[in-house]
Point group: C2
């Protein structure tokens, strides 16, 4: 019996889901297929997750945690300059969205998640708080409140991620590089870089 088998089934199911998600995408995440991957019968998950959506929510939660970790690490690289930290945050967000396509899609598919349940919509709050902090450090005295600027900037990042994955932005702007868009978004919301 390997230690994989001795591990709690709950964690094993989540891991199997993450693997399946990265390998085959969201539509492959059926409850029965996840159970098969974990080597148990299709009824087993029910002992740990009352419903299919609650299992998918657990998988998404893992994704939110990974994203938060990654962005925090990316920011740590530029300890001094808040402007550079914001750039790193934006790049990290887009990197994650493009590198973990399935996971990113799941994370914002509120029809597949228990979004009403406490603790899921709130998962992105710490990340947003970091964003607000950085924004207010870059713009100490703006007429627009920092949370609004941060919200607009986050929306911009998220929209770029979404439309880029969809392929529309490449088609519309005629380029294959996200970088100009990312730079344009940051310059727009924070003012040009070297002001």
């Amino acid at each position: 019996m390997s230690d994989q088998d001795t591990a709690g089934l709950r964690a094993r199911l989540v891991q199997a889901g993450v693997d399946l998600l990265t390998e085959e995408g969201v539509q492959a995440l059926s409850l029965r297929e996840i159970a098969r991957r974990a080597g148990v019968s299709h009824g087993a998950p029910r002992r740990h997750f009352p419903t299919h959506l609650s299992l998918l929510s657990a998988i998404a939660r893992q994704g939110f945690a990974d994203l938060a970790d990654k962005v925090a690490a990316d920011i740590d690289g530029h300890r001094t300059d808040p402007r550079a930290q914001l750039m790193a945050l934006g790049r990290g967000y887009l990197d994650f969205a493009l590198a973990h396509r399935g996971m990113f899609e799941l994370m914002f598919r509120h029809d597949l998640l228990e979004s009403n349940q406490l603790g899921l919509r709130e998962t992105s709050l710490p990340l947003f708080q970091i964003l607000v902090d950085l924004v207010s450090r870059v713009q100490p005295r703006s007429d627009v409140p920092p949370p609004v600027v941060a919200g607009a900037l986050w929306s911009n990042l998220h929209g770029i991620a979404q439309l880029w994955r969809w392929g529309s932005l490449q088609l519309a702007t005629g380029t294959d590089d996200v970088e100009p868009l990312l730079r344009a978004a940051l310059d727009a919301h924070l003012g040009p870089a070297g002001r």
Copy 2:
């Protein structure tokens, strides 16, 4: 026999789908339920749409057309001022996303659409062209090319729509009004209003 029945089944299926979509949301759009709504057997749609996804794609196409019409109408209200036209466009986009929640969701659910098929991803191009035109009229001489500014602005609008529908922005910014975010986005990408 009403003229509803004499109409081609193809159009009737799309209409039934649109109705079902606005009434019950995306997850209710099963092929069999649409067929039931249209008063035919579950095999009938196959004569007009080879697969479930192609039927959903036709429904989404209707949505893209409606959105383009609405935005064009909204813009026509302010014939003179391109800045006001952009504001109208943005507001129209958000209005549509919030008023036709199911349709807007379907339109950007590329897992439910034949997004590789010609003619669907391109549906948003005319709208984007209008956006580029308006942007280049507001900013005649910017160092950032108009398509990039337009792409960034579109991303921002789309991101606001997405995150607002999800509820994250209300939670994060602590407000129940999208207007400040819309205004912040336009000011950011085009410069303050009365410059």
